[in-house]
Structures are given as C-alpha cells and as structure tokens.
Symmetry: C2
Subunit: 115 residues, 2 copies
DNA sequence: ATCGTATATCGGCGATATGCGATAGGCCTT
DNA sequence: AAGGCCTATCGCATATCGCCGATATACGAT
C-alpha cells in the first residue's frame, strides 16, 4: 500500500514523429487537474484513486476520466492492489516529454548566425 | 525580412500557480500543427505567416488561428513588417515550459526514501 | 482614391473535452 | 450468497476545438 513510483516497465508507444509525440504528451498535461494529479503522485503522498479524488474538488467520475487520459498518454500506470488501484507516475514518460521539448528548442541551434 | 528570434521583450504573464501555468503552455503545444509551426519558426527558415501557411496542409484561416493560440500562450510574437507580419518564436517561453516541467519532476525528489 | 496583397476575424459544422449523476463491475468480508 | 467498498464506464449537457469558406481589415503600390 506504500505509494511507489512506477517500475521501469514497458513504456507506452508514442508516435515516431517527434512533433506528434510532443503534442500527445502536451495534451495530457493541458489541464491543471491532470498536472495536479501528476504532482500528487510524484510526491507519493498516496497512490489510491480515492485519495486523489479527496485531493481535488472534482467528482469521482471526473477524476477517473483524467486518470484515463494520463494513462493513455503513458504518464501514469495503475496496479490493482486488492480492492484499490495504486497509481504511479511514470517519471520516464515525463523525462521523454522534457527531451522532446529540448529537441524542439534545439531547432534554434544553428540558426544563430546572422548575415 | 531576415527571420530572427524574438528579442527578449516583455514576457506574457503566466498564472502564478505552476500547475496552471504548465497546463496553459501545454495546451498551446497540444497540437502537432502548432509544434510544427514552432519548429519552423525556431529554425528561422522564414517568418512570414504566408510562409507558414505554405509549409502546412491547412487553410490560411486555420493557421492564423493556431498562431493566435501560440501568441496567447506567449510562445510566439509577431511584429508588423510592412504588409507582412514577421512571427518569431519566444525561446524564453519554451524554456519556462521546460523549467515548469522540471519543477514537476522535482516533486519526485525527496520521495525516494522508503521505510 | 483604387486596387492588390497579407493577415485576422466571423459563422457554421462536426468532433472532442469537461463536468456530473447514475450505474456497472471487482474484490474483500461476513 | 449477500453486502460493502472502490473504481470504471455510461449517458447527458455544455463548452471548446479544429477546420473551412467568406468576409473584414490593414498596408503598400499604382
């Protein structure tokens, strides 16, 4: 029942196109409630879905939907733990988002030269 | 007419709440067309809106809408240059997105200890 | 003043997102 | 077998997104 981060399991398959992959991850991060869920899980205060519901001013069904979005993007995984489901944030997926972002910034490298 | 990156002008005001700020920037990045526009502008191949339209399989009005979304998020700025508008990607805004992302990852720091 | 180019905005359409309550399914306990 | 907790899914309403064609606006050139 101890909240733990995701074991480095098989990562969710992202589009091969970096722009589409970044857009996909950004879509999952494009709602404050989902970012809060991620932060909550990363801090590993708790991991059960019920605890997340208690932590947000949203209905249980709405939180469940946000969790599904995060899961589909590979940012979160859930393991059944008896009657509960322990969710964990996939730090690797977040790091991939960072890499894709840096890859985008890198498009500016080499464009520094002026006439 | 030379495409240039944004001078470090006044940054767009982001929400003070990091979660909302990250969600806002992520919303702007949450579409492949907008990421492609950013990459195109960062590479500084060209900067006129018309060039961006030619670079994407989208109608002019649609591209204009995407540019407005990027502008509202502070990721892009446009300077009137005669009859054209020269758009530039705000590298600082992208870097702020990276910082917010790292700040989120940092929520996991200190949660590494087990009982 | 008029025309032409470049960009933004409007109106409409279908698709998707967000929210909720209600319901269904899983698993433990009794 | 029955009941209780936890989570997911369904159904619905509303709002926003993404796309386009059409129109409006701004500016330079004629």
């Amino acid at each position: 029942m101890t909240p733990r981060s995701c074991p480095p399991g098989p990562a969710a398959p992202l589009p091969s196109d970096p722009d589409e992959a970044l857009a996909l991850l950004a879509t999952a991060l494009a709602h404050p409630a989902r970012v809060r869920i991620l932060r909550f899980l990363l801090a590993r205060e708790e991991c059960f879905a019920g605890a997340i519901v208690d932590h947000l001013p949203l209905a249980q069904s709405t939180v469940s939907r946000h969790l599904a979005v995060l899961r589909e993007a590979g940012l979160v995984r859930g393991e059944v733990d008896g009657p509960h489901i322990c969710y964990c944030a996939d730090l690797e997926a977040l790091e991939r988002a960072g890499e894709l972002l840096r890859g985008l910034e890198a498009a500016a490298i080499g464009a520094e030269v002026g006439p």
